[in-house]
């Protein structure tokens, strides 16, 4: 067992002409010199604004894209090695599952249970095992009552839960959520986040949540900020979000509470304590106000 499930060394990627997501046809690297190590069972958030390269990173970790420079180790195996073959890719994709942004575009089948079965079917598992995994994955995301439903009749959050079940059914060690909450309503988002956290806590699955919602990132154990294809900040949320100035400079904001306290401090009001969550922010304000009164 390798301590780091994912490890990258000097990882870089440049879209060749015609493949670029941006309209500018210059060869600007989407990612460069990324050194990132993810521990087994970690809950990591990757932050960055649009075009920062965070989705490219996800696609590299899943070998949808092949890095132009650098190394990636998945579970200790160098997947960027010359002799790494198709079976190896298959193995990596089994270990590293990925949930995408648009739930509609990742559901393959016309019936929920058949969609969840798609991954295990590709793994060539026996039918009884597929059945078991479909049932357990669907109940893990609370969709067991929708087994025979048509996906297009579900809500966005429900579809995304089915998509997650489809990944869980492959029993991956890592699940990368590539902006999986971006297209959902607040309720759907909350559902997906709670599933994500439960999978991490109860099943020990390593979760990488790629997002641009600060509140989501603040819930993770560790936050990585990517800006212009470079790893800019890396640490526990408390540390990362204390760099409010730096976050502003790269077009991101801290969570609302942190932001509020930061601005109050700038205005000369000396509030003490951290304010990562709304709760902490409220407490810091109360402390300050009651301290003033004395």
């Amino acid at each position: 067992m390798n301590e780091y499930i994912i490890k990258t060394e000097g990882l870089g990627f440049t879209y060749s002409d015609g493949e670029s997501d941006s309209l500018v046809r210059e060869e600007i690297p989407a990612l460069s010199d990324i050194n990132l190590s993810v521990k087994r069972g970690e809950y990591l958030a990757v932050l960055g604004h649009n075009g920062s390269g965070k989705s490219t990173l996800a696609k590299l970790l899943n070998l949808i894209l092949v890095p132009t420079v650098g190394k990636i180790y998945i579970d200790g195996v160098d997947v960027t090695a010359e002799d790494f073959d198709e079976d190896g890719v298959f193995d990596v994709r089994r270990k590293v599952g990925m949930v995408f942004q648009n739930p509609d575009n990742q559901l393959v089948a016309t019936v929920v249970e058949e969609d969840v079965a798609f991954g295990p079917e590709n793994l060539g598992l026996p039918r009884e095992e597929i059945r078991r995994r479909v049932n357990s994955s669907l109940s893990m995301v609370g969709m067991q009552d929708y087994m025979r439903h048509a996906p297009h009749k579900l809500s966005g959050g429900q579809k995304q839960r089915v998509a997650i079940a489809g990944i869980i059914a492959m029993r991956p060690e890592v699940i990368i959520f590539d902006e999986s909450t971006a297209m959902l309503d607040p309720m759907g988002r909350a559902e997906v986040i709670s599933i994500m956290e439960r999978l991490n806590r109860e099943e020990g699955i390593t979760v990488i949540n790629i997002t641009h919602y600060m509140e989501e990132a603040a819930r993770a154990e560790r936050v990585v900020v990517i800006n212009d294809g470079r790893l800019t900040l890396d640490g526990i949320p408390r540390e990362v979000f204390s760099e409010v100035e730096l976050l502003h400079k790269i077009g991101l904001e801290a969570p609302q509470g942190t932001e509020l306290v930061h601005r109050l401090r700038l205005a000369g009001i000396n509030i003490e304590g951290s304010s990562l969550t709304e709760q902490e922010c409220a407490e810091a304000l109360i402390n300050y106000l009651s301290g003033n009164r004395k």
Partner: protein
Amino acid sequence: MISDITLGQFFPGYSTLHKLDPRTKLILSVAFIVAVFFANSPVSFLGLLIGVLVLVKLSRISFSVVFKGIKPIIIILIFTALINVFLTDGAGEPLVDFWIIEIYTEGIVRAVFMALRVIILIIGTSILLTYTTSPIALTDGIESLLSPLKKIGVPVHTFAMMMSIALRFIPTLVEETEKIMNAQKSRGADFTSGGLIKRARALIPILIPLFVSSFKRAEELATAMECRCYRGDKNRTKLVKLEYKSRDYIWFCAVALFVTAIILLATLPYSIGYSGRLLEIIFYKI
């Protein structure tokens, strides 16, 4: 509105026909079509009619639904019937001989048989296949039946996968079409007035965004499928496996008997006991 469209008009249910294996139904449909083309005498057509009525009854689909299914082709039916009536030459005296119109008994008989043949064909196959088989089951059935072709390099699995993905995305695309239409309507686009050409032109601003987004969807779906370890049918298993049950074998026997009976009925009236005639008819049909 448009989202009410059901493709292939599948009516979910639990009748004997619904429970049959899709492969059985596909094979039986082919047998049925053969029988329909053999039928050429009043007795054989009567047999076919009874057979079709039994099928409809067993499917527990109401007759009115079934007849609605024929409505769209009524004009074609009438047209072909008229052509048959007017253009068939007969041996005896014409029934009607007026100006350039000559109608013979043979013409009328042929027109009636032709119409009956088409109606029976459509009702029979739609009851057996489209009405009682879900599109996805049909796809599975076709894949399974055609799988021997894999040996000679026909990408059967790929075709089946394409078909099932197409089926999966029909409602999604219909939904999207509605969204785009509403977006265009809110900017003053008019889809309901003007002549045919104007209306067709009004569809262009809907089709272009629809095409663009479909390509994007296709790419995302392909990526998502790859992420889920899809690599064609290489070493792939299935959650639901098609299996013939005793029900299927009973149906095979029943339909085999039925088809034989129809072929016999169709050939008997020519000359009983003259089996050479049967061969002659078979060759004639081919």
